[in-house]
């Protein structure tokens, strides 16, 4: 029981942190995500909640959970590592775009303009984390007796309605995790963070010293992926 309370406090605090951040001008926010690998049980609920939130079709995934086997039988253990977009401070995916369809917002989130993207996929090759995927317009229920209408429902990425029915964007575009920007702007946590049953995900404004994430990332047991690439990722892992 006390643990549950504690968990609730975590969510409450993160919610408060977001509200405070939203009071500030957008360029003073610095959204970061912290993932505690010691707590992740590899259930992939975050992956699926993301698919549901952003209505992702087959072949498009924003946050797969990578599994690593450590040791050899019988002395083996496994580690799980969710991989959202790192929202790099120096995103290599941005300068390569020939039509400036992808850019870093003032709050650090790397966004894509679906109407501008021509689908050349150069950014996919440039991302060191394979965080970008290509939407070719598949549906999960295609080829079954009935195409399910819920698969064609509008999604609200970037605070705009995107209809799949007319075969227009985001079909033919490259897509990626955006920290659920459309939810954030409404003061809500990203879908993956709210779904995580192990409370392994933390989210907030690292520019706010009182925020939970600011405290977490100042600990010594923090790593980031492929730091040697100079990308300065905004996803931190606690190990």
């Amino acid at each position: 029981m006390p643990e549950l309370l504690e968990q609730q406090n975590v969510f409450e605090q993160m919610q408060e942190d977001i509200k405070r951040a939203l009071q500030k001008p957008v360029e003073e926010r610095r959204w970061v995500m912290v993932i505690d690998l010691r707590k992740c049980v590899g259930c992939s609920a975050c992956t699926i909640s993301c698919v549901a939130e952003n209505k992702l079709p087959p072949g498009v995934v924003y946050r797969p959970v990578l599994e690593h086997e450590i040791g050899t039988f019988p002395n083996v253990t496994r580690r799980f590592m969710p991989r959202p977009c790192m929202q790099c401070e120096n995103p290599p995916c941005v300068p390569v775009c020939p039509v400036s369809a992808t850019w870093k917002r003032p709050d650090g989130i790397v966004a894509i303009d679906y109407e501008q993207c021509i689908g050349c996929r150069y950014c996919v090759t440039a991302c060191p984390y394979s965080a970008r995927t290509f939407d070719t317009g598949h549906t999960y229920t295609e080829g079954t007796p009935e195409q399910m209408v819920y698969e064609l429902l509008t999604n609200f990425e970037y605070g705009q309605g995107w209809d799949r029915e007319d075969e227009g964007s985001p079909i033919g575009n490259v897509r990626k995790c955006h920290f659920c920007l459309h939810r954030l702007e409404e003061g809500e946590l990203p879908a993956c963070v709210t779904t995580c049953m192990g409370v392994a995900n933390y989210f907030g404004d690292a520019n706010d010293p009182d925020s939970l994430v600011a405290k977490l990332i100042s600990q010594p047991n923090v790593i980031r992926l492929k730091e040697e690439m100079g990308t300065d990722p905004k996803v931190y892992y606690l190990v």
């Binding site: 992956t47 072949g59 020939p98 993207c117």
Partner: protein
């Protein structure tokens, strides 16, 4: 013999065009869903085909500058053939990459919203400039012959007459002027061709996330590869369609081209050796993983048999031992030019077919979320269709335009 081969090529082009139509239909109806490239291997056969054709174009064009800029007497009569080959290959390249886009109808954004920090952004402007230059240069190179052929009866005469755009002065002063203009255009063309093809190499070379591409040697290898493959294509084209077939002069010309191609091919192999051996020896996994795929992967035969045996060893032997024979040089040229697609595939794919993060392969699956790529039926058919279309364009152009004619401007 060359007549027979010419007919055979007509046949292949027509069959390829007809069969490939199904690929066009699939591309237009199923879009990218019928393709095997996707999210983890985002670029496939069409991108490789694009750099292959653009390399052929750049190579053939640079060969034409030997005529119009460096005025090498022996090659004089094949200037137009080189320019025309370059134009047709450019068309194939641009068509392939256009259809590779997720939103082909948005291609205009490349022009109106160019991001000049992106090398791909630069490409559209360089290609446009190159295209204009090629057309203008070809026109000046053909002008005197267009005038000559405009007096012919029938459609051909009318076409030639139209294409002169009323400029019918063939006095030696006018021809001399054409020649000077050609020299200027060709001179502009050299840095342009180096820029756009080196640029395609740089497009890959700058991608830090892909150690296999990320090398200063990449643009250089693109250029040398372009010269070798484009030169080889030209040697083949000249052997079959060159001026004065059967004459001693033709034989000398083909043999000379063969020697140039041999040198370029050997240089290309040297660069390849440098790139491969240094990387393999230093054994940094991120890069050697891609190289291992090339050399020992499931498609090892593309490297060993298609590239090294058919694309290097056999042509080298032909050029060394039978360098004075038109058919041997023509065959060597065809082999090098054709198999160079394997080199381009082995540039594009191995860099993408390796996991960027361990565990991605199995973390989430779905169409396009795989590292095992082999082109789909649609990709093959559409590719074959484009190449056949370009081939037909060449054959028809060759039949109608005075590309190989007596009058030569240089």
């Amino acid at each position: 013999m060359s007549k027979l081969i010419e007919r055979l090529i007509w046949l292949i082009a027509i069959v390829g065009f007809v069969v490939g139509l199904y690929g066009v239909y699939m591309r237009l109806s199923a879009g990218h869903q019928a393709a095997n490239y996707g999210s983890y291997v985002p670029w496939g056969l069409w991108v490789a085909g694009y750099i292959y054709c653009i390399g052929l174009s750049a190579g053939a064009f640079l060969m034409s500058t030997l005529v119009y800029v460096f005025r090498i007497e022996r090659l004089k009569k094949i200037g137009k053939l080189a320019l025309f080959t370059a134009l047709v290959s450019l068309f194939a390249a641009l068509f392939l990459i256009w259809m590779d886009l997720g939103h082909p109808l948005r291609a205009y954004k490349l022009v109106i919203n160019t991001n000049f920090r992106s090398i791909m952004g630069w490409m559209i402007w360089l290609y446009t400039a190159y295209f204009v230059l090629l057309v203008v240069e070809l026109w000046f190179a053909m002008r005197a012959d267009l005038v000559a052929c405009s007096s012919e009866p029938g459609f051909r005469g009318k076409l030639c007459n139209f294409l002169t755009f009323g400029r019918k002065d063939t006095s030696s002063a006018a021809v001399q002027r054409d020649s000077s203009i050609l020299r200027v255009l060709g001179t502009i063309g050299i840095p342009l061709a180096i820029a756009f093809h080196g640029g395609v190499g740089a497009l890959f070379g700058v991608v830090g996330a892909r150690p296999y591409w990320n090398s200063g040697l990449t643009p250089i290898m693109f250029l040398v590869g372009a010269l070798a493959s484009g030169g080889a294509l030209l040697a083949f084209v000249v052997a079959i369609w060159g001026p004065g077939r059967g004459s001693e002069e033709h034989r000398g010309l083909v043999a000379f081209l063969g020697q140039i191609v041999l040198g370029l091919l050997l240089f290309d192999l040297l660069l390849e050796w440098a790139e491969y051996s240094i990387s393999l020896y230093s054994a940094v996994p991120a890069e050697t993983e891609s190289l291992r795929l090339v050399i020992f992967g499931p498609y090892w035969w593309v490297f060993w048999i298609v590239h090294l045996l058919l694309g290097a060893l056999v042509p080298i032997l032909l050029l060394l031992l039978r360098g004075r024979s038109v058919w041997a040089v023509g065959l060597a040229g065809a082999l090098i030019a054709l198999t160079f697609l394997s080199v381009r595939l082995n540039i594009v794919l191995p860099a993408l077919a390796v996991e960027e993060l361990e565990g991605l392969r199995t973390a989430f699956t779905g169409p396009g979320l795989t590292f095992d790529y082999f082109p789909s039926l649609m990709e093959w058919l559409f590719f074959i269709w484009t190449i056949s279309l370009a081939g037909l364009g060449f054959l028809i152009g060759y039949a109608l335009l005075p590309i190989v004619r007596t009058k030569e401007v240089a």
